[in-house]
């Protein structure tokens, strides 16, 4: 009997240990826009050489996996130990508080404190992680097409209308299919919305109904899609809130002006190469201001990890000044680390266009509206982005009128607010 019990106990222990993470195992879920996956691997390999007791595994996944599958894993109390995420605030209840675990919490507060609120639950002083890059939305012009068409590239304070007019002239002259393109993303369309005076946040801190500022740009946007000024392809290429970028069309020389963001710089530098000249333009102006939308991806620790101490050690390493500096210089990403920014960066590229573009984005980051700075840390941003993408693309496809789209956006957001209160 005793022997049977012993065998059963051994079996149970074996079963338990086979499903649990091994001590020293740290799994990172990572997506890449450009070369950052390779840079991370290089950095992590060095870490493992110095810390042979910790095994770091990088799971390279597509961005859609992070957006669609990671939240479900987290809700189930599962997932990786560390993840690179963009919807940082909405998922903040799943992040691990690193404050008691990191070697020097003051270092984290000093260097990453400005964005700490973007990724922690409201009302806490949690250290959830750090931004691997700060991004800013902005435009890119195909300079070669503009030059060939003999059309001057609109200046710093040019409006969206100025850009639409110029891009249309270029497209007609150079026989390219799209004068302008804008990513199918709520975050992206929010920048011009804000430039036209939109306010998303109501007096009670919950989403406000769609206002005249948002309607002013959305109506303009749909008008441009209807008359062929704006690429229809990107926006009607999916249903729901699925993300679609227009970057490939720009890289293939099919778009005169493309509105996306700073994270495209390394992508363009690699893929466009010397095929044509391109420039970053900053954000076009609306009737209220010329703001872009800040954002970025953060590396966060997940509270369901079995190895929080090892996770903190990896995070400490990746957030260290030398590593952040090297990562930013090699990936051409704008860092969030205050110390690194103050000491300056030497981006590792021979591409003068990429260097100039990064400079434009750094300059543009000083001209953000207050609301633009606030939205990344607001819990309802993603809800509004989702409703905007879903309904604006239906209006773009001709399935509903603009007024119907506005009504649906408000109704969708109200339903989500109600659902989340249950």
């Amino acid at each position: 009997m005793t022997r049977t019990k012993t065998m059963l106990a051994a079996f149970a222990v074996g079963l338990l240990t086979s499903t649990a993470a091994l001590a020293g195992d740290v799994r990172i879920m990572w997506y890449s826009d450009g070369v950052e996956g390779e840079v991370l691997k290089d950095l992590v390999d060095r870490f493992m050489k110095d810390n042979p007791d910790i095994k770091v595994t990088i799971d390279n996944v597509s961005y859609s996996v992070v957006r669609e599958q990671l939240p479900v894993q987290l809700e189930a109390g599962d997932g990786p130990d560390i993840a690179r995420v963009t919807n940082l605030k909405a998922l903040s209840k799943h992040w691990l508080d690193l404050r008691p675990l990191v070697a020097d919490a003051a270092y984290w507060d000093k260097n990453f404190g400005d964005q700490a609120d973007w990724m922690r639950p409201d009302g806490t002083n949690q250290i959830s992680g750090f931004m691997t890059q700060i991004t800013l939305t902005g435009g890119f012009a195909n300079k070669t097409l503009f030059d060939q068409a003999g059309v001057a590239i609109p200046g710093k304070d040019a409006t969206w209308d100025d850009w639409a007019k110029a891009a249309k002239q270029v497209a007609e002259s150079q026989q390219v299919p799209f004068p302008m393109a804008l990513d199918r993303s709520g975050h992206r369309i929010t920048a011009p919305d804000l430039a036209f005076g939109a306010n998303y946040i109501g007096a009670d801190g919950k989403p406000a109904p769609l206002d005249d500022g948002s309607k002013a740009f959305i109506s303009k946007f749909i008008g441009w899609i209807e008359d062929g000024t704006m690429s229809k392809d990107v926006w009607v290429s999916a249903a729901g809130s699925t993300y679609r970028a227009g970057a490939d069309d720009f890289i293939n020389g099919q778009v005169a002006f493309y509105y996306s963001g700073s994270w495209q710089v390394p992508n363009f530098s690699t893929k466009i190469g010397s095929n044509f000249d391109w420039v970053a333009t900053g954000s076009p102006c609306g009737s209220a201001n010329c703001t872009g939308m800040p954002g970025g991806a953060g590396l966060v620790a997940i509270k369901y990890t079995k190895n929080p101490k090892d996770v903190a050690k990896v995070m400490d390493y990746l957030a260290s000044e030398a590593v952040v500096k090297e990562f930013s210089e090699r990936t051409l990403f704008l860092p969030a680390h205050k110390g690194v920014i103050e000491k300056g960066l030497d981006f590792k590229t021979d591409d003068a266009q990429a260097k100039a573009a990064l400079g434009i984005f750094v300059t543009a980051s000083t001209g953000l509206s207050d609301l633009a700075r606030k939205l990344p840390g607001w819990a309802w941003s993603d809800t509004i982005y989702g409703a905007l993408v879903t309904r604006v693309s239906q209006a773009a496809a001709g399935e509903m009128t603009l007024d119907e789209a506005y009504t649906r956006i408000d109704a969708d957001i109200a339903a989500k607010v109600k659902d989340s209160a249950l």
Partner: protein, 346 residues
């Protein structure tokens, strides 16, 4: 079982190679003989059937019935939490929300307009795709049943797409149909104006039907072909001797005798059509707008992909979809039983 055991223990002389090969089988049978005897003794002869069915029933219960009941429980709850214990009971609210419509034929009058758009799209898809799939598969099977040169090669050609993963199917056709795809390249080469097929509501919808037929018809053709080959040749020879016209042979011999196979094909195609998702998701993503958004994608988007998920609403929609599939299956059972009865009377 006891006989097998006795045979195994008997000493045999002059064994053939086949007998030698059977030795391990007989040994194995001998090993399981004792426990089976115990089962028979304990549960009785009737209980043996239940005993053998148990593993299957367990798998069915755990992977089909249990998820169904869990799904039903989810459909009665609200909120965005994933665990049932964290969700609040809302009764039939999710169903009420799905059915909150002033005119079911106009999705824009419904609270959940995208659900009804998906229902309408799925309805049209089922009608058109099932009709075309049966027709094309039948014609292909009839052709492949003839004495063609390289008949096996042609059968393989039509069956090949069935082996492809739906994602691969979607990607192949996306590369063909997109703005700078192969089709437009060809059209441009021949002096025609290129067209953005996947941005055009009607063409995109037609593409989903065409692609799904291309991808799956090989399988249904094979089932029909098997049915055609089972029809006795002497019936055709008799018809030929009587000078019966080809169309009459088809309607009076081929079609009636093929009906059991066709029924199976109809039901399989119907169920698959209602569940359409993977290749369409890759090909069009449900666009342009929502013109190729089908019910399964709506469920996926609502429950898993939306920026604020609603598992309760997705569960309610999937329960409704499940009910439709149950009705279709019952219809198939009814039809096949009535055709069996007719066959028996004849």
């Amino acid at each position: 079982m006891a006989d097998v055991s006795r045979q195994t223990s008997q000493s045999q002389s002059g064994q053939s190679l086949g007998d030698i090969a059977m030795v391990p089988v007989r040994l194995a049978m001998g090993v399981i003989d004792a426990p089976l005897r115990w089962v028979q003794k304990t549960f009785g002869l009737g209980g043996m059937a239940a005993f053998f069915l148990l593993p299957n029933m367990l798998i069915f219960g755990i992977f089909v019935l249990l998820p169904f009941f869990i799904n039903f429980a989810y459909s009665m709850t609200g909120g965005t939490a994933l665990f049932l214990s964290d969700r609040s009971f809302v009764g039939a609210d999710q169903y009420t929300r799905l059915f909150d419509c002033s005119n079911y034929l106009n999705p824009n009058t419904c609270a959940e307009d995208t659900f009804w758009t998906a229902v309408s799209n799925t309805g049209w898809f089922v009608i058109l795709q099932v009709t075309l799939m049966i027709g094309v598969s039948l014609v292909t099977a009839l052709i492949l049943n003839r004495d063609l040169r390289a008949r096996s090669f042609w059968r393989a050609v039509f069956f090949f797409p069935v082996l492809l993963s739906p994602v691969v199917v979607g990607l192949i056709w996306k590369w063909i149909l997109q703005r700078q795809g192969l089709l437009n390249f060809g059209l441009f080469g021949f002096g025609f104006e290129p067209h953005v097929w996947l941005n055009d509501r009607n063409w995109a919808f037609a593409a989903t039907i065409g692609v799904s037929i291309w991808a799956h018809m090989g399988f249904y053709t094979l089932i029909i072909l098997a049915g055609l080959q089972a029809i006795p040749r002497d019936l055709y020879e008799a018809a030929e001797m009587d000078g019966t016209r080809a169309m009459r042979v088809f309607t009076r011999i081929t079609l009636p005798l093929l009906m059991p196979n066709l029924l199976v094909v109809i039901v399989l195609v119907l169920i698959r059509a209602v569940q359409i998702f993977d290749e369409v998701y890759v090909l069009t993503g449900g666009g342009p707008g929502t013109s190729t958004l089908f019910v399964t994608q709506y469920i996926y988007e609502t429950g898993f992909a939306a920026q604020l998920r609603n598992p309760g609403l997705a569960a309610a929609a999937s329960i409704l979809m499940g009910l439709v599939l149950v009705v279709l299956t019952l219809m198939q059972l009814g039809l096949s039983r009535s055709s069996e009865k007719k066959g028996a009377r004849k």
